[in-house]
Amino acid sequence: MTRLKLITFGSMCLATAMASGIASAAPDRETNWLARLATVQVAHHTLFGTPARMALAWAFLVMLFVVVFSAMATRRLSLRPSRTQVVLETLVSALRGMTIDAIGPRGPEFLPFIGTLFIYIAVMNLTGLIPGFLSPTSSLSITAALAIIVFVVVQFYGVKEHGFGYLAHFIEGVPRSIWYLPVGILVFVVHLVGEVTRPVTLAIRLFGNIMAGDTILLVLTGLAIPLLLRFRLPVPLQLPNLLLEVLLSVVQAFVFCMLTSVYLLGVVGESEESEAHAG
């Protein structure tokens, strides 16, 4: 345990030293290595010009890493598992348990979707904590894309389960008589706004958490740079926040998936009407 603590502390000091070196030698230098690679111009266009494109490039990098890692790790699965296999099996059964807790007995149907969401988002969040890397989720474009995917999947399952009577859900509880038409329209509009707000909140929650965390790390590392340059003390001021961010990255991925499961439960869960018809 002491060796682990030493390694962690040492690598944090190294990261602070790296940041100080970059900041003092070349203040205008790009912050992540992919951006530095891409300062090459192709036909007068910089490769990843806008921040959104930069985040997209990183998202593809993370995707490549996750796919390659999973393919390599699941190549020779055996009944006497290796250490990697044990860890991955624990992860998958924990995710499976989460979907069953959240959605009920139909949970495992959605395990591929929700499991992939969790792994992808968690790895994306964690990528930003490595010095010289960027988290794709610190860009609203990426989180909005994920939220839109969730929205489309939820609506798709809604129509798949209930047919086009799915739209009748929006006028819940209003008696079907002409006098209640204004109330019905109001309820429809309110429900619609609520439905559209869900992906918006999903996107902003994930984006805000990760961007704020990365910004705090940036500011704290910046505070540590003068300490290193003037007093030769490589103090990793960002270390406590780094540990918090590691936890928060996984928690935010978990919250995203939990909310997705709850929305799926809303469209796929058993209603009283269907049970009454079946009985």
Binding site: D101, T201, I204, R205, F207, G208, N209, M211, A212, V251, Q252, F254, V255, M258
Partner: protein
């Protein structure tokens, strides 16, 4: 000038006031969870899931205010530009 004053004030107060409500909410959630665990220590693991989920949802309200604050801060001009404008 009043516009810039308002902008600067708003960018600071936005997340400050939001954190107030968020802190109170999360305090109550944690207090309830602790009380439940004190009564029945064996449910601690099940309650942890609910607690973390609840805390993250409460925190997301403060995060919305943080995002607004970030946008406002980026709208503020640099001090050097303002001093040039004032002729100093």
């Amino acid at each position: 000038m009043l516009y810039l004053f308002g902008l600067a004030l708003a960018s600071g107060l936005a997340v400050g006031i939001a954190a107030l409500g968020g802190g109170l909410g999360q305090g109550r959630a944690t207090a309830a969870a602790l009380e439940a665990v004190a009564r029945q220590p064996e449910v601690a693991n099940r309650l942890l899931t609910f607690l973390v989920l609840g805390l993250a949802l409460i925190e997301s309200l403060t995060i919305y205010a943080l995002v607004v604050s970030f946008e406002l801060v980026h709208l503020l001009p640099k001090t050097a530009d303002i001093l040039k404008l004032l002729g100093r």
